[in-house]
Amino acid sequence: MSRKSSSRPWIEVGRELSSSRAGILTLVSFALPLAIWSIVSYTPFIWHPDIRLELPASRADSTSVYLTGDHIGKDFFADFQEAIRGENDAIASGEVKISRRNNTKQLRQIASLAIAQKWITAEQERDSESLFYIWRDIATGQRESTRPVLSEENLEIARKNWNLLSAAGQNYSNESIPEAPLYKLVPQGRPANPDYLPEPLAVLKSGINAFTEEVEEGEKSMTERTIHSVKIVFSGFLVSCIIGIPLGMLCGSISFFSRLIEPFVDFFRYMPAPTFSTILVAILLANDAPKIALVVLGTVFQMILIIAKTTRLLDHSLLEAAQTLGATQKQLLFKVIGPGILPNLYNDLRILLGWAWTWLVIAELIGVKSGLTEFIETQGRWRNFDQVYPIIILIGLIGYFTDQFLAWLRRPLFPWLGEPVGPKSRAVIACVTYVPNWFQDAVERRQPMYPRK
C-alpha cells in the first residue's frame, strides 16, 4: 500500500490527483490553447491562407488601393504580381506613353517601405528629393531593406529605375524625374492567417499599447473604460442581489411567496433581456442607468429561482429541530435558513456574477455606447482584430480572477464546512482575515468580553 504518489498513474478513474500534479495540469490547461494558437500563427504551412502585403503596389487596371499590412488571398496575390509584371513588360516594350506626372507617382512607390524602415518620416512621403536618394541607395546597395527584404526581382527594378532617374545627374534637380516611364515594384508579402486570427505577440503588443498609449483629448483611456465596465456589471449585480436574495429566500422558505412570485418570474425570464433595451433607454434615458437595468433584468429572475431552490435544499430537519427549541417564524428565517444556506448561496452568487458579466456587452451597446465594448465595436469595424482580442481576454481575466478569489474566500468565510485549506487559500485567508483579526484583538485588549478561565 505504500506506493509512492509519483509512481501512480496520471489517469485513473475516481481518484484525485496530488496537489502538485493538479497544479501542473492547471498550468497546462492554459498553456495548451496558447500553444495551439502559437503553432497555428507561427507555422506557415499549417494554415496561412492569406498574404499580408509588405510591399504594396497599385494596379493600372484597378482602382482598389492596397496598403502595407492588408490581407489578400493567395490566388489573388499571384494574379496581382502577374498584372504588375505585365505592366512592366509593357513599359519595357515601349507601349506605355510618356508621362512625367505618372513618374512622380511611381517615385512614391518606395515611400511606405522607406517610412517602415524609418529612413524618412511620414511627412516626407511626398518629398521627391528624399525619395530620389532612397531609390539611389537601394539601387547601389547603400541601404538594404530588412523588413521586407526586397526580392531580387525588385532590386533589379530598383536598379533600372535608378538608371532612368540618374540620367539627368546623380544629384536631384528639377530634371531628375525622367520622361521615360519608371518600372513598378512587384508586390511582396508573406503568408499569413486571416486578419481575424492575429498572432499572440501582436495581440500582446496591442494589449500593452492599449493601456500605455496616450489617448486623445476627450477620449477615455483603457483603464477608465475598464473601470466603467466593471462598474456596470457590479452595480447591476448588486441591485439584483438586493432584490433577488430576499425574494429568493422567501420563495424557498414560505409557500405563500413561492406561489405568488415564482410563476411570473419563471415566465418573465424567458423574455430575453436585450429586447427590453429600447424600453429601458426610454424610461431611464441615456448614461449608465439603462445599462445597469439591463444587467439587473438579465440576472435577477434567474437569481430568484436559483436562490429559492437553494433555500429549499436546506435540510428540513434543521427547521424542525429549531422549532422544537422554540424558534419563532422570524428566528427560523434569520437564525436557521439564513446561516444554513449561506455557503450554497455564496456559490450561487459566484455563478450569477458570471451570468451578469455576459450581459455586459449588450448593456454597453444600448443607448450611448460605452466602456470596453465601445472600443471592441469600433476596432472590430475597422478589422483591427489584434486590438479586439486583448480586450476580450481582459474581460475574461477579470471574471476568472474575481471568481477564483471568491472561491478561495469561501473557506475562511465558512470554517464550519471543514473543507481542506490549500496553500493558496491560506495566503488569501491571511490577507483577508488580518484586518478583522487585528480589530478584534484590539477590542478585546481594551475590554475583555469574557474572563477566560
Partner: protein, 302 residues
C-alpha cells in the same frame, strides 16, 4: 443465563420485587405530565387513507423514563412527531400539563436520530440556540450552556464545529441543546440508532445518569428491546397496521441499572415478553433459504 431454553426457567415479567413494587406505588402517585387522549392519525395516499395511529391512549408521569417500542410501521415516529407538534393528529389530542399541544414549542425538547445540529454553530452556540432565541442574555446563555456541555462531558469541545465531532459527541451535544431549554419533557426519536454498540451503551448509561440528576421526563423511541428494558420505568408497546397501544409494561428491573442486569431473569423475562408481543411466535413466516452447496466436498466450516 442458560441459552438453551430460558423460557421455561424465567419468572413472569409482572412479578415485581418488593423494592420495585414500592417504587411503582410511589411512581403512580406522581402527577401526569403528558396525556394522550384517543389520538389518531390518518394519512391520505394515492391508494386511499392509511391509518398510522388509531385511538392511542396513555399518559406519562412526572420524571418517568418511558420507552415506546413496536414493530416497523407501528407509527412510533408519527407519534413522537405529533407529541413534538411537528405533525398534527386527525383525531384526539395531546395534553401537556393539562394544556393541549397545538404546535412545536420549547416545553417539549426533541433529540433526533440524525443529530440535526446546526453545522454553522459551535457546540456551545448550538446549546445556546434555544435560550438565546427565548431572550436570554448572551452571558447568561453562555454560562448555562457551559453547565450543560459539562454535564454531557464535552467541555473540551465547546468551541468545536459539528463536523469535528464523532456521532456520539454530536448526540451528546443534541441532548445538551435540548436540556438547555429546560423542557417539561424530552422526546427522543431513536437517538442512539446510528451509533456503534460500544458508544450506544456509553450513551445509555450517561443518559440514565443525566435523567437521575436533572428534573426531566423522557419519552424515548427505540426498536432495540434491550435498550427499552435497560432504560425504562415503563415500556409502551405498539402494534402495527394500524398503530395501536398493545400494552404498557412496568419494568420489573430494579434501579440503579447496570449492564450485569442484562442477564438477570426479570430482565430476560421482560425482554422475551416484548419480543412475543412484537413478533408473535405463531406468525413466524420465515421460509428457510434454498441454498445449493457450492463448495468442494470435505471443505466444511462446521
Amino acid at each position: 443465563m442458560s441459552p438453551d431454553n430460558p423460557a421455561t426457567k424465567l419468572p413472569d415479567y409482572r412479578e415485581q420485587s418488593p423494592i420495585v413494587r414500592e417504587r411503582f406505588e410511589r411512581f403512580h402517585k406522581r402527577p401526569v405530565v403528558l396525556e394522550v387522549k384517543n389520538l389518531g392519525r390518518v394519512f391520505e395516499s394515492s391508494n386511499g387513507p392509511v391509518t398510522a395511529l388509531q385511538d392511542i391512549n396513555f399518559n406519562i408521569k412526572r420524571r418517568e423514563f418511558n420507552c415506546v417500542i413496536g414493530p416497523s410501521g407501528c407509527g412510533k415516529s408519527t407519534l413522537i412527531r405529533i407529541l413534538a407538534g411537528l405533525d398534527h393528529p386527525t383525531s384526539g389530542q395531546v395534553l401537556l400539563d393539562g394544556k393541549p399541544v397545538l404546535g412545536p414549542g420549547a416545553d417539549r425538547g426533541m433529540v433526533f436520530q440524525g443529530y440535526t445540529l446546526f453545522p454553522w454553530l459551535t457546540v456551545k452556540r448550538n446549546v445556546m440556540f434555544g435560550p438565546m432565541n427565548a431572550g436570554e442574555s448572551e452571558t447568561e446563555a453562555e454560562r448555562n450552556a457551559r453547565f450543560w456541555i459539562d454535564m454531557v462531558g464535552l467541555s473540551k469541545f465547546e468551541n468545536a464545529y459539528p463536523y469535528q465531532l464523532s456521532g456520539g459527541m454530536k448526540q451528546r451535544t443534541a441532548i445538551a441543546r435540548a436540556l438547555a431549554n429546560q423542557p417539561r419533557i424530552l422526546l427522543m426519536d431513536e437517538p442512539f440508532g446510528a451509533l456503534d454498540a460500544q458508544t450506544r451503551f456509553q450513551m445509555q448509561s450517561s443518559l440514565l445518569e443525566i435523567w437521575r440528576n436533572v428534573e426531566i421526563t423522557i419519552l424515548f423511541i427505540t426498536h432495540d428491546l434491550e435498550e427499552a428494558v435497560f432504560l425504562s420505568d415503563r415500556i409502551l408497546v405498539l402494534d402495527a397496521h394500524p398503530g395501536r397501544v398493545n400494552e404498557m409494561i412496568e419494568s420489573p428491573v430494579p434501579r440503579p441499572r447496570s449492564d450485569e442486569q442484562c442477564v438477570h431473569p426479570e430482565f430476560l423475562a421482560t425482554k422475551q415478553h416484548i419480543e412475543h408481543l412484537i413478533h408473535p411466535p405463531n406468525s413466524k413466516s420465515d421460509t428457510p433459504l434454498r441454498i445449493t452447496r457450492m463448495t468442494d466436498p470435505g471443505d466444511t466450516v462446521f
